[in-house]
Subunit: 126 residues, 2 copies
DNA sequence: GTAGTTGCAAATTATTTGCAAGGCA
DNA sequence: TGCCTTGCAAATAATTTGCAACTAC
């Protein structure tokens, strides 16, 4: 636990704003002006891999396109990344309440399932 | 509706694999070897803006970090992108069934709410 | 002393944009 | 004719990586 890692952890814990790597970098730089962005990325990765902080965000940073515009849901294979359609019978989205701030207007949600596709499941067996 | 745009639309509609922009590019190139990747991006954007195809993917392509590792859900302001915590009382994730393939193992899900934060709601009024 | 960590700079990846030339209405 | 679109190449943006110097135990 180096000085940098500790400062990065404190920065993430010290705010409730779910900062991006770059925002963490800016925060840490106020106390340690010489930290490098690379160090911030490396430590955020290590801290979240160890369950000390949580990583929010896209499993994959690529846009995908679907010729089917009817509303439906997707599963994403967490091994190879492929995306398939799923049927979800009778799903009613839950009500969400923003903590401490009633003026937040919640207008929608997005949901995606995670799994292992047949091909990757088979490879794992071997 | 140019020749390129039509080929891009057909490529997306012709597969059920939810292709990335790059995969669409490769498909279109088989018939139109001179298309440029820029054209593919531009047309995918236009087609999805017009509701002709659907864009799947992250609202934002940046990782965010959360010092709170307890399970909870988030809202993302669709104007400024900020992320806040929400409480979701008693939510049981729905059952999903993969179309035409029972061997897909679904192991989890991710859900995020969308809305407008108080700050952006106020700016919109003015 | 040695394994892990740092700062820096260059590399990667996905995507966007500027621009001059071309095509369709 | 004039606006939209194209191909190309350069620009951006987020993130990763190679490397030599350094630090903690």
């Amino acid at each position: 636990m180096t000085c940098q890692r500790c400062a990065i952890l404190e920065a993430v814990r010290g705010v409730s704003s779910h900062p991006t790597a770059d925002e963490v970098y800016e925060m840490v730089r106020e106390n340690l002006p010489n930290v490098s962005l690379g160090t911030v990325y490396r430590n955020l990765e290590i801290l979240s891999a160890n369950g000390i902080i949580r990583k929010l965000g896209p499993e994959e940073c690529k846009m995908r396109f679907d010729g089917n515009t009817k509303k439906h849901y997707h599963v994403r294979c967490r091994v190879c990344g492929r995306v398939d359609d799923v049927d979800v019978p009778s799903f009613l989205p839950p009500k969400a309440r923003v903590r401490g701030n009633g003026e937040y207007k919640i207008t929608g949600y997005s949901m995606e399932f995670t799994g292992v596709c047949p091909r990757c499941a088979k490879q794992k067996q071997a």
